[in-house]
Symmetry: C2
Subunit: 441 residues, 2 copies
């Protein structure tokens, strides 16, 4: 007999079915044993009664045992129907039980756990309804990211993670022993995706990146999934922002379409991503902060404080019903060497941050595309062109005006779902003291 997925059981009332599942709950009441069965599609209740040949087996079974069940799908008496839950109108009358795996559990799946206990026990704790929903949503986000970009003629590529020396001079690079030479782990696919503009014009990649940051806070991850795109033949950074708006609208729509149940379980707020996203230069944003939001000594600072990002988010949410805003024109000093300076606003770049639900989730902008101009960019940051020789070939041999963004899958998942710590939106998060388990030093 073929397996029936639990969510489809109510189509088979009166029939005999085979299900394969975990035991979500086992309740033994003398001559009757009740079970909640759980598979990837949902839950259902079943009962063993008046079947002496399986009573022994039924008595042994505990939570998280894995079983194969033969049963009749019975309609519940009207007064026992629970309209609001899946399979609330049926109950399985169990005919036979086959045990596929036994289990011993450290705590109940519904227990509230502190973060360390949750992380220590992920192979088990992730089975719980809420984290499982978080990672279903995460899968949908990354799928939607690719779908939108594919529909806009972007081509995916695979960026390498082992990279040469620490060219940009950041302290955040993990070193690896590469056959006796020193190599590093990529902190971003930036240089490769710019190269890919020369090949495909529009390109994207999704992959892990690595930051050797010594902080362990609710915002930090030492390894995360970066979603990146880069597009050629743009007029300026506004073209990049327009594509990113489409990405976010796609994510909103796909989640509402395909993750209804998960959004309900997590009690998420409805997302608002209007067609016209509120957009300010850094200076305009600072003026709003001082004049309308009672902040002091903000104008002229090179960047926004996290607190400012929160205030601006609330401001545009209230005023324009948008969960997203763009802040453009950060100063050259605050942006990487490849950021394009605005020729009409010297000292400032055609760059932007996307602030989503109070937090910066994206950095992006137009890049320097002319070889000589890029060399100047390197010079302003005291970087050596010879360390960028491979990358510079793309510019020497002709690259169009281009720009792009990178954004963190875990961070955006966290904000959409409304979690207080990005680690709760990360499968197997790496932090300074943890690789799966705590590291004993």
């Amino acid at each position: 007999m073929e397996r029936t997925m639990i969510k489809n059981l109510s189509e088979k009332i009166g029939q005999e079915v085979k299900i394969k599942s975990w035991i979500d709950v086992a309740r033994n009441q003398g001559k009757v044993a009740f079970f909640d069965f759980r598979d990837n599609s949902g839950k259902v209740q079943g009962v063993v009664f008046g079947k002496p040949e399986i009573e022994e087996t039924a008595k042994k079974i505990r939570s998280e045992w894995v079983v194969e069940i033969l049963a009749i799908v019975n309609q519940r008496p009207e007064k026992a129907v629970k309209e609001e839950v899946l399979n609330g109108n049926i109950e399985l009358e169990i005919k036979d039980i086959k045990i596929l795996s036994e289990a011993e559990i450290p705590f109940d799946l519904n227990e509230e756990l502190n973060l360390d206990v949750f992380l220590d026990n992920q192979p088990y704790s992730l089975r719980s309804e809420k984290p499982k929903s978080v990672f279903k949503i995460q899968a949908e986000i990354v799928k939607s990211f690719r779908k939108t970009l594919n529909s806009l003629d972007f081509t995916e590529f695979q960026a390498p993670k082992i990279v040469g020396g620490d060219a940009e001079g950041g302290a955040e690079v993990y070193k690896i022993d590469y056959f006796g030479s020193e190599a590093g782990l990529a902190t971003s696919p930036q240089l490769y995706k710019q190269i890919m503009v020369g090949i495909f014009e529009r390109s994207f990649c999704v992959g892990n990146v690595f930051r050797a940051e010594k902080h362990s806070t609710s915002r930090h991850l030492n390894e995360y999934t970066s979603m990146d795109f880069e597009m050629g033949f743009i007029e300026d950074h506004n073209d990049v922002m327009n594509v990113f708006t489409k990405v976010m609208q796609g994510i909103k729509n796909d989640l509402e379409e395909n993750c209804k149940e998960e959004l309900k379980i997590l009690e998420t707020e409805k997302l608002e991503i209007p067609d016209k996203i509120p957009t300010y230069t850094l200076l305009e944003a600072q003026e709003i902060l001082e004049k309308e939001l009672n902040q002091e000594n903000v104008i002229g600072e090179p960047d926004l404080e996290p607190e400012h990002e929160k205030l601006l988010s609330s401001y545009v949410k209230e005023k324009f019903n948008s969960d997203l805003l763009y802040v453009t024109h950060y100063p050259v000093s605050k942006r990487p060497f490849y950021a394009m300076e605005d020729s009409e606003n010297r000292g400032f770049t055609k760059s932007f941050d996307a602030i989503f639900k109070g937090v910066e989730i994206v950095s992006g902008g137009q890049r320097r595309h002319n070889y000589e101009n890029l060399l100047e960019g390197l010079k302003t940051k005291n970087l050596k062109p010879e360390d960028f020789e491979f990358y510079l070939q793309a510019f020497k041999t002709g690259l169009p005006p281009h720009g792009g963004i990178g954004f963190g899958l875990e961070r955006v998942t966290q904000k959409i779902v409304g979690l207080d710590n990005v680690k709760k939106a990360t499968l197997f998060p790496r932090e300074i003291n943890r690789i799966d388990r705590l590291i004993n030093k």
Copy 2:
């Protein structure tokens, strides 16, 4: 004026258009300048004639310069029409030229290059028609892999690349300095995808994996893209093979549908992935090799030689018109600790290799799912359970019978396209002496 992509130009005969492109070829013939323009969608010819105000500019322009062009789309005279090429019926009459980027090129894009020169110059050499087609096909393969698995209720997840110590004891692990502790780079997402069976039942991931192999051959890569899936509640390894057959059929169909032009450019052979894939146990395969393919001393060996895989591939291609075959039941000694031993064929595992066009592209099979049985598996390989404590939790808390596969994106691209070296199917391949450029030791 909006940009028109080059492939759409023939819909605009008689109209003025704007294109943005690279100069593919520039031919200056005194008073007339001819150009081939190239964008991501195709090529078109254009001419500057009798326009003194742009003659100077036209004369300067060389291959790979990036330009924005205003032009009239003219129908060619009938005798000049080239039916067989894109835009063979039109020519652009150039009205204005704006130079977006200049370029200086090391060699002509159509030049045949040896592999080292090709790799040294990838930011440029990848723009050539053939490699560009290879990586378009690669993008379609990975997209198709995900599409098939999504349609079969698999959920994507992101596997970490930074892993703890070298638990399996292989020599192929890159070591990284993790804040003073030693960590490694994942050689496979194996342990995590088995854990994910407990969360989603069916799960897949695509990401880079790392092998510190000191060989540099046409088959080796030190970093490659692994496509993996794992599925719960299987009967045995046949369920896994059936899903993989669907993956390969999906790839065949999607390539034929979406990469017609690229397959033509690369002159690939039509793929044959029948519904019933020829399947042999290792012993049966060895018997065929001895009895029908004139090989000696094969029966009883623990594995197949590369030459045997080639012979078996030709055999099933001729006999069953299949580019794919499965060989099952490799001995326990040759498979990892988690491979499920066949209780009816002791000493042999419910594992398989998929051999595609002469080469093994996939290892897969059913895994040990019972905790005690898995501990036995670790014992047979002299591995310590305490090194696998995190992973083992998944089994202690109940995991269903499951199995899966991993396969290399670059290897399958290579075989589909028919390349002699896997590095030609790898963007920015890492090898012992190369990270982008050769490493000087």
